[in-house]
């Protein structure tokens, strides 16, 4: 492939990579926050800072 072809290919890869990366971040943030909140809640109950 010519140099120009590689440059165009890497620009497309860069755009797709960025979209996939931040798209996935947005998709899992909600579920991850719920899990972390529940886990922290259980720990606070365990050390007596919060009631069951």
């Amino acid at each position: 492939m010519e140099a120009q072809g590689w440059k165009t290919l890497w620009m497309v890869v860069f755009v797709v990579a960025s979209a996939l990366f931040w798209g996935t971040v947005l998709a899992v943030v909600g579920g991850g926050l719920r899990f972390a909140r529940n886990l922290l809640g259980e720990m606070l109950v365990e050390i007596g800072w919060r009631k069951q």
Binding site: M1, A3, W6, K7, W10, M11, V13, F14, V16, A17, S18, L20, F21, W22, G23, T24, V25, A27, V28, V29, G30, G31, G32, R34, F35, A36, L39, L40, E42, M43, L44, E46, I47
Partner: protein
């Protein structure tokens, strides 16, 4: 110092929060399974976040940036290949489903199920050696980022490394995998935001931007900055090796720990292909930062300290492009990335050393039966003693890492060093795990052959690269570029299992595995 006082406050708040999480997480550790695989409770979302966070460490960012600084956009191919392989694995469940179904906590534990305790001991030793060497450069790479980003003098690099490792050891000892999961998630959020702001700052900077970076790379490096086939660091052999090693590389204990911590094999598969979507970004974005740093240090206006040093230039550039607060958030995210990789790796390698080396030796000496107890142990140490041993090994490993980072310089780039050391273990896994899970004739003798034959080539490369003068001149190419030795080791690992097993089918009958009830 490049940092504003607000940035330092953000970093201190983050570090304080991390230590608090470690203390809190200690309350939820009730068994060895809680400590090592978070009680196998992870759902898809937290599983993806924590897996990505482990894979996207500060170390990864630094060595990918170093590749971008040295080779421009050509290494982007690495991200594309890894994504294709990860999505394939996630969709088919190749290896991950079966290992999760067998409920092992470390990968060599599979060796005791499928082969013998002796194979587990040898596999555990090789994995521990490969893993410890592989991790050897992590602290120094992280420390270089901090020094480059803050503008501290280069002489401080070892002291910074010592402090960072001490913080990681503290909260890993406290909360095990539970604190690892929580800190990983915070890092995932901070670093994702940091990537966004950093990339935006590069793309909108008047001296950088996509076009200026492309033109700068073309002017200084020519076609090799874009064409991975023409670039001597890559080429067809490396591409074939990378595809193969990515397929078997999922058995790398720190990443596999997250798979083994999921609720079920089905969740493990789903988590795997979703996180695979992020792989291309995890590689390409830091490589882009590294390429941008190369152009940055060649600008006529550049007045920094690191014109020829890609290891420090990227953090220096980023710290100067970002405004206060945003720089602090990115810095905290990078520190989090440093810690989240170290905690996972320290915990994983310590678990392997204890469960797959110390515990089997004790079981052998005691002559106990080769079967798994309800607690998940195999007749060696009790669960409580395993946790105590893991904590001791974490401290010993941390001390080794500080010493290794201070005194060792790799023969090639940091990225290549990671793959050469990882291959000491991966190569044997082609036979022991790849064929062991899917080929009925795989037996114990084949497993020993695969482990030994797979480890020889990469170990020889690492040793001979330190003293190339003893290598005959016509063979010097073997120690000047690692591509041939790592590719041949993968073939030897698979070949060892096939030949060893076929020759000894009668004397060493293979143990069958039953996956009929797997989801």
């Amino acid at each position: 110092m490049h940092l504003h006082w607000i940035d330092l406050v953000i970093v201190l708040v983050y570090l304080g929060g991390t230590i608090l999480i470690g203390l809190l997480a200690r309350t939820s550790i009730k068994s060895v399974a809680d400590f090592l695989v978070a009680g196998r409770t992870l759902n898809v979302q937290i599983g993806v976040a924590t897996y990505v966070a482990t894979g996207l460490g500060l170390v990864t960012v630094m060595y990918f940036a170093e590749e971008g600084f040295k080779n421009g956009f050509a290494p982007f191919l690495v991200g594309v290949l890894a994504t294709v392989v990860f999505i394939f694995i996630g969709k088919t469940g190749f290896i991950v489903s079966r290992l999760r179904f067998l409920q092992v906590m470390t990968v060599p534990e599979f060796y005791e199920i499928k082969y013998t305790r002796g194979v587990r001991l040898l596999g555990g030793c090789i994995l521990a050696l490969a893993g410890t060497l592989n991790m050897g450069l992590f602290p120094i790479l992280g420390s270089r980022f901090v020094v480059g980003f803050t503008g501290l003098p280069k002489e401080y690099v070892n002291y910074v490394m010592l402090v960072m490792v001490a913080v990681v050891v503290f909260y890993t000892l406290m909360g095990g995998m539970v604190s690892v999961v929580l800190v990983d998630f915070v890092q995932f959020l901070l670093l994702s935001m940091g990537f966004l702001f950093g990339t935006y700052a590069i793309l909108t900077h008047p001296d950088l931007g996509w076009t200026n970076i492309v033109n700068g790379l073309a002017a200084h490096k020519g076609a090799a900055a874009f064409d991975p086939i023409a670039n001597l660091d890559y080429g067809y052999i490396f591409i074939f090796y990378f595809l193969s090693v990515s397929l078997i590389g999922i058995v790398w204990q720190p990443e596999m720990t997250h798979v083994l911590s999921t609720e079920s094999p089905k969740v493990a598969r789903k988590m795997f292909w979703i996180q695979g979507l992020t792989m291309v970004g995890r590689a390409v974005l830091p490589m882009f930062w590294g390429a941008a740093a190369f152009v940055w240090v060649h600008l006529p206006t550049y007045g920094g300290l690191y014109a020829d040093d890609g290891r420090f230039a990227m953090p220096e550039m980023i710290s100067q492009l970002l405004p206060p607060v945003v720089a602090g958030l990115l810095f905290a995210g990078m520190l989090a990335a440093f810690m989240s990789t170290h905690d996972s790796y320290l915990l994983s390698w310590s678990a392997v050393i204890v469960r797959d080396v110390v515990s089997p030796i004790k079981a052998m000496l005691a002559g106990s039966a080769q079967e798994r107890s309800d607690e998940g142990n195999w007749g060696g140490l009790t669960g409580e003693r395993e946790i105590r041993w893991v904590r001791i090994i974490v401290v010993i490993l941390a001390a080794f890492l500080v010493a290794f980072g201070t005194f060792y310089t790799p023969p090639e780039t940091s990225f290549k060093f990671m793959y050469v050391t990882g291959t000491i273990y991966f190569a044997g896994c082609v036979g022991t795990i790849g064929l062991g899970l899917y080929w009925r004739k795989a037996n114990t003798v084949g497993a020993y052959c695969a482990l030994v034959m797979g480890a020889i080539a990469p170990l020889s490369f690492l040793i001979l690269a330190e003293m190339p003068e003893v290598v005959p001149h016509h063979l010097r190419f073997l120690v000047e570029n690692s591509n041939i030795s790592i590719m041949s080791s993968l073939l030897l690992g698979g070949l060892g299992m096939i030949v060893g097993s076929l020759l000894t089918q009668k004397s060493h009958a293979p143990r069958p595995l039953d996956f009929a009830e797997m989801e």
